[in-house]
């Protein structure tokens, strides 16, 4: 039984890591800001969810499970919000979805990250 749980935990943690890796790859390789947000928020939320699920298996107490769940929910909320804000700011600055370039080459990423904080 405990071996089964260990295996399940390992599988969950590993697939979580794979999701994170995929998200990071997407951030580096995708062509424009909108796609990158997509990769980052979706893949990372899922990856974190998997890792949290894996950790819950060995948590031992209900309180700890609850805390882990809370972490996941909060991170999801934060990443949804920040992803939205980055996209919104990009849109407001007239960033082109296809090329990811601003009409006038400026510091779009800089601006949006600043606002986000």
């Amino acid at each position: 039984m405990s071996l089964l749980i260990d295996l399940l935990q390992a599988a969950l943690l590993l697939s979580g890591v794979v999701m994170f890796a995929a998200g990071t790859l997407g951030l580096l390789r995708f062509p424009d800001t909108y796609c990158r947000i997509h990769a980052l928020t979706k893949a990372d939320n899922l990856g974190l969810g998997l890792i949290i699920a894996g950790l819950m298996l060995s948590a031992g107490s209900v309180l700890l499970v609850f805390k882990l769940l809370l972490i996941w929910l909060l991170v999801m909320l934060a990443s949804a919000l920040s992803g939205h804000l980055v996209a919104w700011e990009g849109d407001a600055q007239g960033m082109d979805a296809a090329s990811g370039d601003l009409p006038s080459s400026g510091n779009a990423a800089q601006d949006s990250a600043e606002r986000e904080r």
């Binding site: 909060l74 909320l77 919000l81 939205h84 804000l85 919104w88 510091n107 990250a113 600043e114 606002r115």
Partner: protein, 314 residues
């Protein structure tokens, strides 16, 4: 295994530090600096110092990062391009390299030459802890054994605000930071702000027994304020100057009053009566949390009042 993890953390610290200093443009450097702060928070956990980890994440990476990014916002309006700083031909580079390498060498020598002995001070703290009024040794050190340091440190924070006030001009209350009229943000605030306030009060409450305390709670409070500020709810020194000033100074004044009250009893400065130590520390922490929150918030909001371009009279 854990050694590997530590070594990984060590190399990431060094890489992020180097990237902070060399990455172009500056914005990237600041982002790496914030990442460095988050890595440091992990390192502090590894060093069994969760209090510092909380403070590093909230103050070191969080507030410092926000202040830096905010300054960059002013900067990029004025085209300020810098070239790569590494120029092998400049003597500055070599002087810097040689001094830093010799510093590293000397420190390494000092580290290797010093035997690792358990410090007797840790024992003394453990022995005196029952009489300190709190159960968490770090809170006991900060607010009882070495409370004088903390008192002066709040003074340092107030001085920073004072200089900000001196430089900011009173008359031109013109905001340079536009608010974000984003509907989703506003909606989320309704959820996030109560949560952050809850976290802040939890940290404060936890401080007497476990990691947490006035500084961490104050930093979370300040983060809430900054979030609200960015979304358009502005609570600044200008809105109600007197009230705000009183809030900024509340912690310091309460601390000072408690410190001085020992004199009435003929005791040395900062002595708490035995049975009152716990409650006095709690009162000080409450006031400090509020003040630290307001001070850190004001550090961020103060320069958002554009200064007049012409020089001020001497």
């Amino acid at each position: 295994m854990s050694v590997l993890l530590d070594l990984l953390l060590l190399s990431s610290l060094w890489v992020f530090a180097l990237l902070t200093l060399t990455a172009l443009p500056l914005f990237r450097g600041v982002v790496f600096f914030i990442l460095l702060g988050l890595m440091l928070a992990l390192v502090w956990i590894r060093l069994d110092a969760p209090d510092i980890a909380l403070a590093e994440a909230a103050i070191g990476a969080g507030i410092t990062g926000v202040l830096l990014l905010d300054t960059l916002g002013h900067l990029h309006h004025r085209a300020d391009q810098e070239s790569s700083p590494i120029r092998l031909k400049s003597s500055r580079f070599w002087v810097a390299l040689i001094s830093s390498l010799s510093l590293a060498g000397l420190l390494l020598w000092a580290l290797l030459d010093t035997p690792a002995t358990p410090t007797m001070l840790a024992e003394q703290v453990a022995r005196a802890l029952p009489n300190s009024g709190v159960d968490h040794p770090i809170t006991a050190v900060l607010l009882n054994f070495r409370s004088y340091d903390t008192l002066l440190e709040i003074g340092v924070l107030v001085v920073a605000i004072l200089v900000g006030l001196t430089l900011a001009d009173k008359d031109s209350a013109q905001l340079s930071l536009p608010k974000l009229p984003n509907p989703l943000l506003q909606a989320c605030l309704a959820l996030l702000v109560p949560l952050m306030l809850m976290v802040s009060s939890y940290l404060l409450w936890a401080g007497s027994k476990q990691p947490g305390g006035a500084f961490q709670a104050g930093a979370v409070l300040a983060a809430t304020g900054i979030l609200l500020h960015l979304s358009g709810f502005r609570l600044t020194l200008r809105t109600s100057e007197r009230l705000m000033r009183a809030g900024l100074l509340l912690g310091f004044s309460v601390f000072l009053l408690v410190a001085a009250s020992a004199l009435i009893d003929g005791q040395p400065l900062l002595t708490y009566p035995d049975h009152l130590a716990g409650i006095l520390i709690l009162i000080i922490e409450l006031a400090l949390t509020l003040s630290i929150g307001l001070i850190l918030l004001s550090l961020f909001t103060l320069p958002h009042f554009a200064l007049p371009e012409q020089e001020r009279p001497k």
